[in-house]
Symmetry: none
Subunit: 401 residues, 2 copies
């Protein structure tokens, strides 16, 4: 539903919703006729919860669409990822915990290699190590631009973030990466009137960077793309009436949650059990909890089927700690599929289960892709899950008389 | 589909469609792992029809949305309830069989109590009995307003309907109910230019009502809300090419059907069997029949699981009378769920079955919520059922060459 429509139906309640997002959870069998990572995992607690839940398959963006982390999360958070977009520059900044202000323009940067004529010879500068990146970033930090603050931050390998902070900076800027070798980097063009100031400043930054890096081959030039400002997103409080907290280890997911006005709780450690400890400690202070498990996705990206199944088992072992808190609604799902077979994000819908006292359980005692395909939620868009979760939490009133 | 799209595909045919709407049919088990009202009912005829039908679960408005009777019915009638809305004043007037004209503005009225300073002390005037309501309505009927006819009609307890009939009356009017005690009723404000005349008239009505009711404590004042005109709805004939009849006992449902241009047939009695008698008698004269069963909803609202199951059994016993008429398409469904467990309308999708010679039956020999979750219709919006029913009635031609 449209947010305006939904907002009018939200009523105050004391109920609590917990949403567990196992990143990249959806999978594929390695062999035809085999089981997926989730179906292979030994997960007695998830299966027992499934028996009291309603199951379904959710398309994070739409049928056939493989989502990035941003759109995948926006979907399961209840935001239509085709309407709300987060620029790559912003995601990259969120990913390193950079605190973006409302007037900042962020871009994703690559160090690259150019020849004497200035033509690109390597778009990633031979994948220089992060240590060298840090040294080069120190050099770029000496660049000053009139009337704006300049931030340059190392991400990893050949990647960095550029942020310009100042008044009147638009983000409708073309990219400098020509996406092929043998030609020079492109100048930045303003694609709207109010981005002309930004374009001039960025081109000046690039000119200075070119001079400063001239003798630093292979990293003797930069490419910039994904110029974007912090998007103004309606918050969880505004849209759903929820006082929401995020429990996530990786900066990008904390950043995404922050964009939606969630309070990001700090996690003392990287284990799933650490996240559940934070959940327990903060249980009384919020009415929505997003708990993110990253390592299912990492294992999928590495093509490590067994490790991915093992991460699911780790989560399963922690699940009773959540259930002991007596949540009114539990959603277990994912932002997208990352089958180990494909070693990448994929288009496959994600298995979802939703537990509540009133969920109309479909009596399927297994949480898995094919079990979910038979479930009572049917096949839906991820963005439709939040209204169902709110309804099950008795937080939506009747529409119309 | 959009109506314009569908209208272009409608072709004349002699086939007949019967739609049985069991109000509030969808339910929940009382105990985890148990059966719903529908699943518990002994209903051999519905189950036998299910075996020849295609099943599914329909969201009347959207996932997570609990619909009122108006939106719920519009959905199963094929109208998008988020696009076509019916004001509360109109629904209230329909509910007492008041014949609304195209120039009428209707409002829902409450008798209320105010203190000497005019501040509200009870928004429902101590829930006065209907008999007293009738006496007070007679008093309000003495009010005359310049250039318009005034109708005041008792609904029940403290509720009445006010209708102004005349030229140039807009319905963009604010409500007088401040929704809290200790403050006076609000004046009516016009929210658009063409509603200024209405606003002035309604404020004059309120001023006179205040004087007339001054010594009638506890019902010494009125509140008005939900100002609305008869919405201009495309009719069943226009949209679907159907000559439609409605068989319903309760006024509101007859009124809803009338809004869509259905002919409302009078029912001599309140039993489900009376409705089937009307169906038989009028079978040759229409090609679409809407047959409404109210008491499933009433039982659900009362939290009476067993009585709701019993109403379903009553309907089941009558079903052979419809099948004997050899309908081409039968739709059995509902406007929304009203689980006895929740004692209210709920967000749960409604079980649907659609029978025709060409329906591609899914060979599930049970009509129930969880059976429908496995059905070939999948999970859909209620508004999508009518095109499927028309197609099964061979009343839609091919789209495109």
């Amino acid at each position: 539903m449209e947010f305006g429509f939904l907002q009018d139906l939200v009523v105050p309640e004391q109920t609590k919703i917990a949403m567990i997002v196992m990143d990249g959870l959806g999978g594929l069998p390695l062999e035809p006729g085999g089981k997926t990572e989730l179906e292979s995992a030994h997960k007695p607690n998830l299966d027992a919860l499934a028996a009291q839940s309603i199951l379904g398959l959710a398309d994070p963006v739409g049928p056939g669409i493989s989502p990035g982390s941003g759109p995948g999360h926006l979907g399961i958070f209840g935001y239509d990822p085709t309407r709300f977009t987060i620029g790559r520059g912003v995601l990259e900044a969120l990913g390193i915990d950079f605190e973006l202000g409302p007037n900042d323009v962020a871009a994703r940067g690559n160090f690259c290699s150019v020849d004497a004529a200035g033509s690109l010879t390597d778009r990633r500068a031979g994948r220089i190590p992060t240590e060298l990146n840090r040294e080069l970033v120190e050099i770029l930090r000496t660049i000053e631009l009139p009337g704006v603050q300049v931030f340059v931050e190392t991400v990893k390998d050949y990647r960095f973030v550029l942020v310009l902070r100042g008044e009147g900076l638009g983000d409708a800027l073309s990219e400098t990466d020509p996406q092929r070798l043998g030609v020079p980097a492109l100048p930045v063009n303003a694609q709207s009137r109010d981005s002309e100031k930004s374009a001039a400043l960025v081109n000046e930054f690039i000119a200075q960077a070119r001079r400063l890096l001239a003798d630093k081959h292979p990293a003797n030039m930069i490419l910039l793309r994904g110029f974007a400002k912090h998007p103004a997103m309606p918050t969880y409080k505004e849209v759903f009436g929820l006082n929401a907290a995020a429990i996530a280890v990786y900066p990008m997911y904390r950043g995404l949650a922050k964009l939606l006005g969630m309070k990001t709780l700090s996690v003392p450690g990287e284990a799933i059990s650490d996240e559940f400890t934070v959940l327990e400690k903060n249980w009384n202070d919020f009415d929505f909890f997003y708990l993110h498990v990253k390592k299912t996705d990492s294992a999928g990206e590495d093509g490590d089927f067994a490790r991915k199944a093992h991460v699911i088992e780790e989560l399963d072992a922690q699940l009773p700690r959540l259930l002991a808190l007596k949540p009114d609604v539990v959603v277990v799902g994912s932002d997208h599929s990352t089958p180990a077979l494909l070693k990448s994000h994929s288009w496959h819908p994600v298995p979802i289960m939703l537990y509540s006292r009133h969920c109309r359980a479909d009596n399927i005692a297994e949480y898995g892709e094919r079990a979910c395909a038979r479930g009572g939620l049917g096949r839906l868009r991820s963005k439709d899950l939040m209204p169902i979760a709110l309804a099950n939490a008795l937080r939506l009133t009747k529409f119309g008389a």
